[in-house]
């Protein structure tokens, strides 16, 4: 009947805090706190060579680090398995052509392009990692500022890349089509969004779907030992699309608000 242990309905998210531009030496960063889950994402833009099969596009590289602070299981190399799983899921989610405009990351076809290294750091594990990570990645990409470069051609034909002198002269990424992951966990006969650690322990199977702000599904993944009925998968997909759309709207509102505050914004950061 739509009442969970902490009073939320099946489709309610916990209280989330999103803050961007927390790490100063990155091109973009974001920190998301969803209940007890704490994620930090940093994006660094570096020059690289385009991939052979896509010579006129830049690309994204994901790396996930499960800090030992998150849970005792991550001590030493324990968190590597989870980290690679999350990184592979992120690659899959962003594999769709329309998510990020990769052509805008190209400087010189076949020679130079921008590579965005997205580093995800898990500070605390409190259930529902994938959703929090995707929100943080979207916020960090929104916050990313890539410096504008000009390509000068010499008389001999050698190309030189010139960085503009103005530090505020940069290109921003369009994150309107960046998808967000919604995790639906099946508990008993119903499914819930944003499961806490206790709810995750009770659920045998979950469906991870990535939804764009327009409600389009870009990828789907099933995790867990249990099985899912095909009908319940349809229901979960519909719920996921609905919840995903409202999540995007709320996130965009917060990002725009934060942006409008400009440099006068008080940064809470880590010690606040």
């Amino acid at each position: 009947e739509d009442l969970r242990v902490d009073g939320r309905g099946c489709e309610d998210y916990r209280c989330a805090e999103v803050e961007t531009d927390v790490v100063s030496n990155t091109s973009g960063s974001a920190r998301v706190k969803l209940g007890h889950t704490d994620i930090l994402v940093g994006v660094k833009a570096e020059m690289g060579t385009p991939k052979l099969e896509k010579p006129d596009e830049g690309y994204l590289e994901f790396f996930v680090d499960c800090s030992a602070n998150a849970t005792p299981e991550f001590e030493g190399r324990g968190g590597e398995e989870l980290g690679t799983e999350i990184a592979n899921t992120l690659y899959r989610v962003f594999s769709s052509e329309s998510s990020v405009d990769l052509k805008s990351l190209c400087i010189n076809p076949r020679e130079h392009c921008w590579v965005l290294y997205v580093d995800v750091l898990l500070l605390e594990c409190g259930g529902n990692l994938f959703d929090a990570i995707s929100i943080a990645v979207k916020a960090a990409l929104f916050n990313t500022r890539i410096p504008k470069v000009r390509v000068l051609e010499d008389e001999e034909g050698s190309k030189e890349i010139e960085l503009s002198d103005d530090p505020y002269d940069c290109i921003r990424l369009n994150v309107n089509d960046v998808p967000c992951i919604v995790t639906l966990s099946k508990i008993g006969y119903r499914h819930v969004v944003d499961a806490t650690l206790q709810e995750e322990a009770c659920s045998l199977a979950s469906l991870l779907i990535s939804v764009t702000s327009k409600g389009a599904l870009t990828s789907m993944k099933k995790v867990g030992k249990g099985s899912l009925d095909p009908e319940s998968i349809f229901e979960m997909m519909e719920t996921g699309k609905r919840v995903g759309k409202s999540l995007h709207i709320a996130l965009q509102k917060i990002l725009d608000e934060e942006e409008s505050l400009g440099t006068s914004r008080q940064k809470v950061g880590f010690l606040g």
């Binding site: 902490d6 009073g7 916990r14 209280c15």
Partner: protein
Amino acid sequence: DSVLLLSSMNLPGGELRRRSAEDELAMRDYLQEGDLISAEVQSVFSDGAVSLHTRSLKYGKLGQGVLVQVSPSLVKRQKTHFHDLPCGASVILGNNGFIWIYPTPEQKDEEAGGFTTNLEPVPLSDREVISRLRNCIVALVTQKLMLFDTSILYCYEASLPHQIKDILKPEVMEEIVLETRQRLLDLEG
């Protein structure tokens, strides 16, 4: 580490007899690994191990309810830690910081001695009360207020105008706990 001896437990049916070897073998029918029980500490050994007993009918296996884990220092030491709150739920405040919230059972005398679990679905109204109590306890713990029956009850009453899921929002939490603190001060003064 703690030990709960067979001789320190109540047998189902409440009968008093010497525990036999069959009882030892049939123990698994009463309690299994993973069950939650309420017990009292009988004595503490010198190496830190604790000996438990469930000699009274009020102790035993716990049925359906919600567990909240808090810091043990926030649980006030009182004469009794089993409280039946007037809002419709009961709460057990463990000294180890484990708080158990469960719907108040209708019949007061349980012949089973605490071993049968009632697995019937809990009605929605009871579940709402329990969720609200759980969120109130989490709010009190975040604001570092001592947990005892009066503080939990006042916090519950202060939270009634809000929706259950809103209690976990930081602003609402502060407001409710401030009101609770004020009422407790008025009670003392």
